[in-house]
C-alpha cells in the first residue's frame, strides 16, 4: 500500500521554481531513497511533503488524504516526522527537552524512551546537556530520536550521513534499519553506498523533476543511470 504519494508537484520558493514536477510513491513499511545531485530539489521535496514550502500545484496524499494544502503542524499530527538537513536541534533546550517537545500526547516520550536509548545509548548520557553543546553526530542522533518520540508512520530523513565520521555513519545506518521496522522512511542521501544498502526503492530527481524510479536492486546494476544522475558511484 502506498503511504505517501506525490503527483506532479510544483513548488516555488519566492520567485524560483524549485520543483517542476516531482512524482513519487512511498510504499508502507519500506525505505525509499530520494537521490539526485546537489540542488536537484531533494530537500525541497521533503519540505513540500511536510508543508514547510507548500506546493503550488499537484497533489500530495498521505494515507489517501490530500495534504497538499494543509499546514505543517496539521500534516505532522497525522503521523509524519521530519529530520531536517541542518538537524534543527533547539540550542537552548536540553537533550531531554528536545525530545519532550516532540510529544503529541502526554507520555509519548516515556513510552519510547527505552527504544530510543537502545538505538542511541549516547543520548542517555547527555540527557541534561543543552543542545548547543552536542557534536555533529550527537545532534544527528538527537534529530532522528526526536522524530521517533511520537508514533510517526512516516519519517522524512534528510542527509543523515552528511558530515559524520565513518563509524558514526555505520551506527546511524544501523539505527535507521532498526527504526524502519516501526515506520516507513523516505530518505534523502547523497552517499549512494549508504542509500543502496538501506533502501528497497529509489527515486531520482533532476532539476526538480522525477526522472527515474524503481527497485534499488535494479539501480545498483544500472551503472549508466548512476553515472548520469548521481555522478560517480
Amino acid at each position: 500500500m502506498t503511504l505517501l504519494a506525490m503527483r506532479d508537484v510544483h513548488t516555488f520558493i519566492g520567485q524560483f521554481h524549485i520543483l517542476e514536477g516531482v512524482t513519487l510513491d512511498v510504499p508502507e513499511g519500506e525505505i525509499v531513497a530520494l537521490l539526485g545531485r546537489n540542488g536537484a530539489g531533494k530537500t525541497t521535496t521533503l519540505k513540500t511533503a511536510m508543508g514547510l514550502t507548500p506546493a503550488r500545484s499537484g497533489t500530495i496524499t498521505f494515507d489517501g488524504v490530500d495534504i497538499s494544502q494543509r499546514r505543517s503542524f496539521d500534516i505532522a499530527s497525522m503521523g509524519l516526522g521530519y529530520v531536517p538537513e541542518n538537524r534543527a536541534i533547539f540550542a537552548d533546550l536540553s537533550v531531554e527537552e528536545n525530545l519532550r517537545i516532540a510529544e503529541r500526547q502526554k507520555g509519548d516520550f516515556a513510552k519510547k524512551e527505552e527504544f530510543i536509548f537502545d538505538l542511541f545509548p549516547d543520548l542517555k548520557r547527555l540527557i541534561r546537556l543543552p543542545g548547543t553543546n552536542l557534536s555533529g553526530g550527537q545532534q544527528q542522533m538527537l534529530a532522528v530520536a526526536r522524530a521517533l518520540v511520537p508514533d510517526n508512520r512516516l519519517l522524512l530523513i534528510d542527509e543523515p550521513s552528511e558530515g559524520l565520521a565513518p563509524v558514526i555513519i555505520e551506527h546511524m545506518m544501523e539505527a535507521i534499519r532498526q527504526l524502519s521496522d516501526r515506520s516507513t522512511v523516505l530518505l534523502v542521501e547523497q552517499n549512494f553506498i549508504v542509500a543502496s544498502r538501506l533502501a528497497q526503492h529509489y527515486v531520482i530527481v533532476e532539476e526538480g523533476r522525477t526522472v527515474q524510479a524503481g527497485a534499488m536492486a535494479d539501480l545498483v546494476d544500472d551503472e549508466e543511470a548512476i553515472k548520469k544522475y548521481l555522478g560517480a558511484a
Binding site: S72, A76, A88
Partner: protein
C-alpha cells in the same frame, strides 16, 4: 583539592575567557555605578537605587513583552508602548469609574456575540457566488452599513461617563474624589424604550459586521457551529442583559469595596484586557503580514498613533492622576513606617537606612516586577508552553514540523506580552499619572533596555531595564545634588533632558563593545 573543584574552576575561567569583553563591560559598568553612588550620601544612594529599581521594574514589564514578541515572531511591536498606556487608562477606569466600565462592557458583549457564530456567516457569504471584486464590494457596503447601525445603537445606549471638558466631571476630579473617599456611582439610567431598540440594533449591527468580515474571507467555514459556540453566544447576550438589569447593585457593591481591593480588581481586569487587545491585534493585523516585516513595523507604528487618538477622544487630552490605593496611602499616627516591616504598616512612606521611601513605588511596584520576573522565568523554563516558546525563538518552522500549531503560540505570546505591558501601565498610573505620552516614553526606555540586554534574551531584558532605571534615577539625583567633576569650579548639574540622552549613550557604548548586547547571542 579534589579534581572536581578543579574542573569547576577551570570551567569558570574558560567561561570568563570566552566572554572576556562581556565580563569587562559588566565590571566597568559596576565600577562606574559604584563610583557614582560613592559621590552620594548614604540615604541618597539608597533611595536612588530603590527608585531606579522601581522605574526599572516598570520598564521591565514593557521590555519583557517586547522581547518575547520580538524573539518568537521577529515582530518589533511599536504599539507596545500604547498597550502600556491603554493598561493605565483601563486600570484607571475600573478603579475610579467602575460604573462607566460596566456601561461600556454591556454593548460590547452584545456586539461580540454574533462574531462567535462566524461559521454561519461564512457559509452564507460563500453561497453568494460572484467574482472576488463583487464579493469585496459587498463586504465594504456591509462594513459601512454595520458600522452605521452599530454607531446609531451604541449612542442610544444609556452610558454614564466622565466629561473631560467639564472640570467637575473630568477624570482628574474623579481621581481626587477617590483620594478623598467621596466617590459615588453616577445616577443610574432607567431602562427605557430607546435602550430596547439599542440592544436589538447592536445585535443586528454585530451580525452585519460579522457578515462583512465573512465576505472578505471568501472561504467557506471548515466546521459548522458547535453547540458550545451557540451556547457561548447566547451566554454573552444573556450576560449582557443580566449585567444591565443588576448593574445598580453591582456598582454599589464595587464602590463599597476598599480602594485596595478595587486596585487589585483593576490590575486583574486591565491585564485581561491587555491580553485581549494583544490577541486582537495579532490575529487581525499582524498575522496577515508575517512575510512582510517592514509593513508590520509601519502597521504597529500606525496602530500606536490610532490608540493615542482613541485615548484622547475618550479620556480627554489633559493628563490626570490616579489615586493611590488605601493600602499604600496611610498618613498620620505611626507613619512613616520603620524598616522592612514599615512596608506593611499601611503608611505611604517608610524610613529605611536613613532614606525616605514610598511604599507604593519602591515597595509594591518593585515587588510586582520581581514576581513577574520569577513567574515568566518559571513559565519559560518549567512548562511545556515555555519550552515551545524557547524552541520557537530559534526555529519556528521546526516547531511547526513537530506538530505544534505555532500560530496559536504566536497569538498566545502576543497576548502575554501585551498583558504584561498593560500590567505595567496600571502599576505606573498611581506613581507617574496618566498621559498619552507615557507609552512612547516607556517604549523608548524599553527598547534601549532590550538593546543593552540583548534583543531576544529574557534575563537581558530584566538586566537592561534595571540598568536604564538606575541610570535615569542617578542622573535625576545628580541634577538635584550636583556632581563634583575635575576642572570645574561649580558642581555639574545635569538637566532633565540629559535623562533619555544618558540612556541612549549607555546603549551606544554597550553596543559598540558588545554588538549582541550583554546577554544576547550573536545574530543568526
Amino acid at each position: 583539592m579534589s579534581s572536581r573543584t578543579d574542573g569547576g574552576a577551570g570551567r569558570l575561567s574558560q567561561m570568563i575567557q570566552e566572554n572576556r569583553t562581556r565580563v569587562t563591560v559588566l565590571a566597568v559598568l559596576l565600577f562606574l555605578f559604584l563610583a557614582a553612588f560613592g559621590g552620594l550620601d548614604r540615604e541618597d544612594w539608597f533611595s536612588t537605587i530603590m527608585q531606579g529599581l522601581s522605574v526599572g521594574a516598570i520598564t521591565f514589564l514593557v521590555a519583557s513583552g517586547l522581547s518575547l514578541i520580538f524573539g518568537l515572531m521577529d515582530v518589533l511591536n511599536l504599539a507596545h508602548g500604547e498597550i502600556f498606556m491603554l493598561g493605565a487608562y483601563f486600570g484607571w477606569t475600573i478603579y475610579t469609574r467602575f460604573d462607566t466600565a460596566l456601561d461600556i462592557v454591556i454593548p460590547l458583549l452584545l456586539l461580540a456575540a454574533p462574531f462567535l457564530l462566524m461559521p454561519i456567516w461564512r457559509t452564507m457569504a460563500s453561497r453568494v457566488g460572484t467574482t472576488a471584486a463583487v464579493h469585496r464590494a459587498i463586504g465594504w457596503v456591509l462594513l459601512l452599513g454595520g458600522g452605521l447601525v452599530t454607531w446609531l445603537s451604541i449612542t442610544r445606549f444609556p452610558l454614564v461617563i466622565w466629561d473631560a471638558k467639564e472640570f467637575a466631571f473630568s477624570p482628574g476630579s474623579y481621581s481626587t474624589q477617590v483620594d478623598l473617599g467621596v466617590l459615588a456611582p453616577l445616577g443610574a439610567d432607567s431602562f427605557n424604550g430607546a435602550a430596547v431598540v439599542a440592544v436589538i440594533g447592536l445585535l443586528f449591527g454585530g451580525v452585519i459586521l460579522a457578515l462583512a468580515v465573512s465576505f472578505f474571507q471568501r472561504t467557506p467555514a471548515e466546521a459548522a457551529v458547535s453547540p458550545r459556540r451557540m451556547g457561548a453566544a447566547a451566554g454573552l447576550v444573556l450576560l449582557a442583559i443580566v449585567l444591565h438589569l443588576t448593574k445598580g447593585s453591582i456598582n454599589d457593591w464595587v464602590f463599597g469595596l476598599s480602594t485596595s481591593w478595587r486596585f487589585f480588581l483593576a490590575m486583574a481586569i486591565a491585564v485581561a484586557m491587555g491580553a485581549a487587545v494583544g490577541a486582537f491585534i495579532e490575529v487581525l493585523l499582524i498575522r496577515p503580514l508575517y512575510d512582510r516585516p517592514i509593513y508590520q513595523l509601519m502597521l504597529t507604528l500606525g496602530v500606536g498613533f490610532i490608540l493615542i487618538e482613541v485615548v484622547r477622544e475618550v479620556w480627554g487630552r489633559p493628563e490626570f492622576t490616579m489615586a493611590r490605593p488605601a493600602l499604600f496611602n496611610g498618613t498620620g499616627e505611626g507613619c512613616p513606617g520603620q524598616g522592612i516591616g514599615g512596608f506593611f504598616s499601611g503608611c505611604s512612606t517608610v524610613d529605611m537606612f536613613g532614606a525616605r521611601l514610598r511604599v507604593y513605588n519602591e515597595g509594591f511596584v518593585f515587588l510586582v516586577g520581581i514576581l513577574v520576573l520569577i513567574g515568566v522565568t518559571l513559565l519559560l523554563k518549567r512548562t511545556r508552553i515555555g519550552m515551545i516558546i524557547r524552541a520557537g525563538v530559534q526555529d519556528p518552522d521546526m516547531v511547526e514540523a513537530l506538530g505544534i500549531n505555532v500560530r496559536r503560540v504566536f497569538t498566545l505570546v502576543f497576548a502575554l506580552g501585551s498583558s504584561l505591558a498593560a500590567l505595567g501601565g496600571v502599576l505606573a498610573a498611581p506613581s507617574i499619572g496618566l498621559s498619552t505620552g507615557m507609552g512612547a516614553l516607556f517604549l523608548l526606555s524599553a527598547l534601549i533596555a532590550l538593546a543593552i540586554g540583548g534583543l531576544t534574551s529574557f534575563p537581558g531584558a530584566a538586566a537592561g531595564a534595571v540598568l536604564v532605571g538606575l541610570l535615569q534615577q542617578l542622573i535625576i539625583r545628580f541634577g538635584q545634588n550636583g556632581i563634583d567633576l575635575p576642572f570645574l569650579a561649580e558642581p555639574f548639574k545635569p538637566t532633565p533632558t540629559l535623562v533619555p540622552a544618558a540612556s541612549v549613550l549607555l546603549m551606544v557604548i554597550v553596543l559598540l563593545l558588545l554588538p549582541a548586547g550583554l546577554f544576547g547571542r550573536s545574530e543568526r
